[in-house]
Symmetry: none
Subunit: 296 residues, 5 copies
């Protein structure tokens, strides 16, 4: 396993450290790793994501699942946080997702703000999430909007998790959104822009069409994710699950990520797009992997 | 009837609960259901909407109609509220519609603010209304504008009713504004973004051209509206009447909506685009339906 | 009965009218009169006021009593409103008492702010209360503090009820706090300073030691309260009960007040410093009096 | 044991509930009770309080003691929080004490602000503390200063613990600062003014010189603390230890407090004014008592 | 020598650490110790302080002296900083003294603000100074004023040096301003209130008239200064020279201070109230002492 920095080596303010300690050491396995349950797909993709397992359309079901499955936090939008988190306040960390959008309009990728860091503080959240569309032609608006979030998060001691997502026509032309090149660049961008934690997709080194020369070589998946974690340097890294795929492949991705020094996983559809007990069984398998990679 | 959540299960602040209690339990039937009279068509469509029944061009006539018809509230723009609500202040709840637009310019759908939550407080309103054009290419501006309204409504304890309307070229290309897909997504979007009440059109599951695979199946109208209410989860749901159509069809839509667990109806043109006594007779029929679906 | 002005004759803004209409016509007898239950004695006098009827120390008991007794509103401080009003939000109007003090320090009477008009809006209150110590050497601070409250109440359409209480050494030297002179002056002061409703003690025309010559004559109680209501002019007037005394005397005071054109009563200790059913019986007697004096 | 309200019965916002849940159910015994270690005596009394056990002059020693002793939180001033909490951030809840003073000037009791609620948020604190000197002639300044703290705490979802301390010449003249009368009034005052938790001294019903008639009777210590908890109603109550006294007496006070329905204890000097292992032994005895009074 | 905490053990923000590093490691001896030249006596005492050595009335002379003498910084008021620091900007660290007063009015000690932290940033200062009169009856105003300075210094990453001076009638009655008790309490107060560096007078353990029992014992000067440094804990401590006295006594105080773990000295009149070369000679003797106590 590659070395993972401890919380006291990240340049964190007291409040950020307190909240991250809570997430990483007082929830989930409590060993410095984390697995988060993201649940903003109802906004990002619409209710169609719940057709595979209709009970998952009920936020109460999903928050309870996160609790039962020993997750380190649940990432939701302001509306669900206002209506559903009170019942579980303090029992599981809340990551308030600050921006989001519907998938409908065919415009340059940009995720508008729907909540503020102060909302997160008010709701007792332990972190905020922000989707940054790395490579989007709307980069200027995105960076400007992000700047305010970063400043507020700093002022209020709130950890900032950046969903660092390569997107847009230019990304599509250079290997696509989950090429090693794009993911590596996204991890570094979040680090350069001050994220405390960065969430990336697992890199695919075989997607090389249009990527810069440096990435147009033979890399194993392990080499790629190793490099991505290095690019994030003192920004802790989470690997996201994305669309549902086979369990064996997901578990292998999880293992490689942890081996690379990632802090953890953020798996949504792969967890709740299946029947309840099967969700818990899969979460348990993920936790088994994390248990092998405690922070020093 | 599907279960409808009580006011104490919605995560409401004291002020929002007080005002919604007033609307739902101290006006109209007082049984937890509601029927609202919207009257912003003079701005949205222009006076042409009053040609069918010229007296309805007079706001005083319409507010009085709402009172006589036992409505739970009247939804109007700031100008009419300033000029006409004083006469009826406190007799019927005011829903101040905060944004609105003319139908004239052919631009990306966006409804600009014409009033503020503080205006609503000052006028003694019991709720505010905001039109969100789900799927519009102007999504970024819309969400940003909405964010401020939501924050103000939260700070001042004012219930927020979102007119969640699918609109724009991309919606047109994916089944249209009243497809099951679009309405379902709109209901969920309002819930994710923190609406207290969402107003949607009745879904049409037969409009399937261009919709995602999940919606390209056989669904009954009842199945569709059931799903939409579920997607709104703890956001109370109102079904809007839209353009005037036959009474029998409207009453059937109303019945199916209530059966699905909707909180009520918001019917304008179907009510006041006809002669006075006929308006009241129709309102009475709607109330008869609501009377069969009291909150527990 | 002396004539009492209607709500449309008071120069009220839309929001103030809406909220007062709610209090006067949609709660209690709904006839334009009002009886309020004040419950801030726990702060003003301490828990000793509850020794006569210990259950009254529980705010929940008292709010419920107000509901059962058909009161038009409950007047409480911010802390109790935050903790107890949610359960009854909208069922009975809330009058948020904005200032208050303990009776302990022997200083010039001044009641510091503990809440704001915006708190009242946020909590869904229908009015705010402010204690003005007319005649206190701390007049300057009091008036300055009141100015802000009045401006905020105006801006937010919130009715302002002034507890207009003569207090201080100079009042003691001029007939005392419930002389006809002091009460009459207090009623006028509230009217001059922009109260929507004024709460006064019942005047005692026999307390003449040190009062100005004009008040050092023979006046009946009825003449005195008639004059006080006239002094308040378009400020609606409530007569407060003060310390508990015999029921017959209280009822006679109530009758004379209504005869004089008062809008109603605000009786606390006389109501809840007795056993539950006896409280309701007494409230019923007060309501019987109010029923004889409907607004035109 | 008298019943103690659950966190879901206190009218708490989501953020306050999340943070109190953390304190009461994820630290200490995790059973809804709490024991806090206050450590602001270096400011309130000066370093002389550390002469009994010099290592206790080192904030690092005391925070570590709180951790070892299984305390639910440590209450310190901004300076120590800035310098020492980072090392333990998230391991033990921080209660940021917002005001404080030296004991030197002989002036009307008033505790000036040294920090803000936003400081507390920034540092990852789970509550703020404010000393209110009930009965002080400086009441007006104190209430005004407190108002801002309460509003900020509300806005940011931060639990507010009020050190409700009777003080001043008028208190001295009416039974003194720990009479049943004074403590009972202080508990109620904090509740009326919106504290989430109130910290009081243990009441002494035998101190009757100058107290109001209601308190000039025979009451047992148990009857007195029972009444004080009732006066606090939905404000959770902590009993403070005050100056060091015999262990047996302290433990008996602790037991009676819990029996009355108090939520817990806040003991400083009685804990750290003794040798390290003896401190832990005493803390263990206190925890044994709390273990017998879990929240339902 | 008692241990002195390193810069990385003080809970400093990045900006505060950068500026303190500059002062302590890139000026003076560069060994983690410091000697400052304070020069605000022209305001505090008036020009009478310059009669002993008239050239010292010229700020240019004194700043140059600080440079020649290898001081780590010069502490001056805003007016002198504006007019004289430009010439030496960057050559020697500037400590902008933010408050100050004349000695003329016989009022409760309080030092009003004459500059802001933002002035200090604008002028390129490396620290700000604030005089806190511990024990003054004006404590409330002083703490409130200090709170703003502390918050600004935090926000802008500016080290805050507190001149922690016991003053006022109550101090005079309890051993006086340089009793061990008063100085010890002053050091702790600065630490509790968030100073980065505290400047105190050398304690006199023999001044025991009226001090609390704990201080009414036999203590050596070394024991006293040892305790004071401990009370300051992670707040670095400077010992001030005060009025001019014999060199041997001064040097002994300096040695004892450094032995106790002080970070350095802040000597003004003892330096510049003598002829130029003699000033440098004395400064050299002080530096010789500091050279023996490098930070680890």
């Amino acid at each position: 396993m590659k070395s993972r920095p401890g919380l006291d080596q990240l340049g964190l303010s007291t409040g950020k450290k307190a909240r991250l300690h809570r997430i990483l050491y007082r929830h989930g396995l409590g060993n410095g790793t984390a697995i988060f349950l993201p649940y903003d797909q109802g906004l990002e993709h619409g209710p169609r994501d719940f057709f595979a397992n209709p009970p998952a359309g009920d936020p109460n079901y999903v928050i309870k699942l996160a609790l039962e499955g020993g997750f380190n936090g649940i990432a939701i939008q302001i509306g669900l946080a206002e209506k559903f988190y009170w019942d579980y306040a303090g029992e599981i960390p809340l990551v308030l997702k600050l921006n989001g959008k519907t998938e409908i309009p065919a415009i340059d990728p940009l995720s508008p703000l729907n909540g503020t860091v102060e909302d997160a503080v008010r709701l007792g959240a332990d972190a905020v999430g922000y989707t940054l569309y790395v490579g989007s032609p709307a980069q200027e608006h995105d960076f400007r909007q992000y700047l305010q979030v970063r400043e507020d998060a700093l002022r209020l001691g709130m950890p900032l998790i950046v969903w660092s997502y390569p997107r847009g026509a230019d990304i599509d032309a250079k290997g696509g959104k989950d090429s090693f090149y794009a993911v590596d660049y996204a991890a570094r961008t979040a680090s350069e822009l001050g994220a405390d934690i960065v969430k990336v997709n697992f890199p695919h080194p075989d997607k090389q069409s249009g990527v810069p020369a440096e990435y147009a070589s033979e890399f194993s998946a392990q080499q790629a994710i190793d490099a991505v974690v290095r690019s994030a340097n003192r920004t802790l890294l989470l690997v996201s699950g994305g669309e549902r795929m086979g369990d064996a492949a997901m578990l292998e991705k999880a293992r490689e990520s942890m081996e690379a020094g990632a802090t953890g996983l953020i798996f949504g559809r792969n967890v709740w797009q299946r029947e309840h007990d099967d969700s818990l069984r899969f979460a348990c398998q993920l936790r088994d992997i994390l248990a092998k990679y405690p922070s020093p």
